[in-house]
Subunit: 263 residues, 2 copies
């Protein structure tokens, strides 16, 4: 490609040092970081912008902090970033399952959003979702018949949930649902929040074919609520950074597609 081998490496190391320092101190000013890593103020700002974009840090006027300092801003933006290329690869692979003229369901996950972003040139398609960022993307596409699944707005997820949403899903019958969960193992999928579990289960029931989108970072973990057994899904799409053993185990249960991460 281009001049990235040495440059990118030192850049990464530098950003890692910044993250470490901020995580230790809780927060730091830009000029403070200038001295720490020995580059210009401008470069520090550029690093910080990227780290914010990746969801690792928070920026406020005067510096950066480790945690969501105030409240604001859906943590959904937050989730993207780090595994962005994985999610994009997964979405590209999952996209091969979509056929023009069909109907699909997208849940409120960044993985599903990545799918939405790739639906431009498929052909006529009906897409239903409760996820506002996905709606913003899909409303631009003239060939997509968009259905919004309404409900109670959740600022933390930037989506619509609750009984109204479940009922709206229940009224549908679609070809395919693309779902993601916060954790899984060889037999079960899990999620942190009960409210989301209810909606996702309704989606599972409403679709002919259920596709589970998983980026490897969340693979060998559990979470509070059991959501659905792996056997409830018809297809697993996962990136190639996943634990071999787990993938092998999952393969015994459902057809599994491995998404290659581009360099």
């Amino acid at each position: 490609m281009s001049g990235t081998s040495k440059g990118a490496r030192s850049r990464e190391q530098r950003q890692q040092r910044i993250v470490d320092h901020v995580l230790n101190q809780g927060s730091a000013s830009a000029s403070e970081l200038t001295e720490l890593v020995g580059v210009s103020l401008m470069t520090v700002h550029r690093d910080l912008d990227e780290l914010v974009r990746r969801g690792l840090l928070r920026k406020f006027h005067g510096g950066v902090s480790a945690q969501p300092s105030t409240v604001f801003e859906g943590s959904s933006e937050y989730r993207m970033g780090a595994q962005r290329s994985q999610k994009e690869a997964i979405a590209r692979t999952a996209l091969t399952l979509v056929e023009p003229g069909g109907s699909i369901l997208l849940d409120d996950s960044t993985s599903a959003l990545a799918v939405a972003r790739l639906l431009a040139d498929i052909g006529p398609l009906t897409v239903a979702t409760n996820y506002l960022p996905a709606i913003e993307v899909l409303k631009q596409l003239p060939e997509v018949h968009l259905i919004c699944l309404g409900g109670n707005y959740s600022a933390t997820h930037d989506s619509f949930l609750g009984l109204p949403c479940i009922e709206a899903v229940g009224a549908l019958s679609v070809d395919m649902a693309f779902l993601s969960t916060s954790a899984m193992n060889a037999t079960m999928t899990y999620h942190q929040e009960h409210e989301l579990v209810q909606v996702k289960r309704a989606m599972l029931a409403a679709a002919e074919t259920n596709v589970l989108l998983m980026d490897s970072s969340k693979m060998p973990r559990k979470a509070l609520h059991r959501m659905a057994p792996l056997s409830d899904y018809d297809r697993l799409v996962i990136d190639d950074g996943a634990d071999e053993e787990l993938v092998a185990a999952a393969r015994d249960v459902i057809p599994t597609m491995i998404a290659p991460i581009e360099s």
Copy 2:
């Protein structure tokens, strides 16, 4: 309370002038606006922040613009335009009917959007709507419990319609609905599109009190579909540019509030 009578008035006028100028020019720089309104740069920035918060302007580094700088503008935002100050006046008057703790319904009209923009400091409130621009505004307000009425997305209206929406409305029972129609006379309201009529009728049925928002520009006209008799509404809010005769006739049917247009 405090020093707001004269100060606030000039402040509002100033912001109005800023909005007018930006809408005319398409965009403007902060320093340019400084000369226009004759206050310090800092105050201009404070005004712009507030106008952005109210959803009237977009800010980018170096100035502000009327539309989403990157994309085209939704045709719905556009409709505002000429009758913008009327609609804002109407909304401000209608707002006096809203009580904290209550629940309200907003239809997919720019008049209802104007109401949404003023809901910031009312107190806890439940608001349901099928209108995407209103959702974008309301999702910012921490005190508002927002319910999205889902349905089939209509690009021409930027809202959700059809059977799913009607069913979602039917599941609700709210204190007050704020509606607008494309035409009215002394006994009847009308609308151009049947699909909208159905949704609005459902809203009428779901609310305890129905408030009709009318800017005078559309008063003495008819439109294709009869929507509902004026007697189905409980309150009419109209700006003071309306035809005297018609207002008098309407007064015989329902309580009517006249919204003063500021200079």
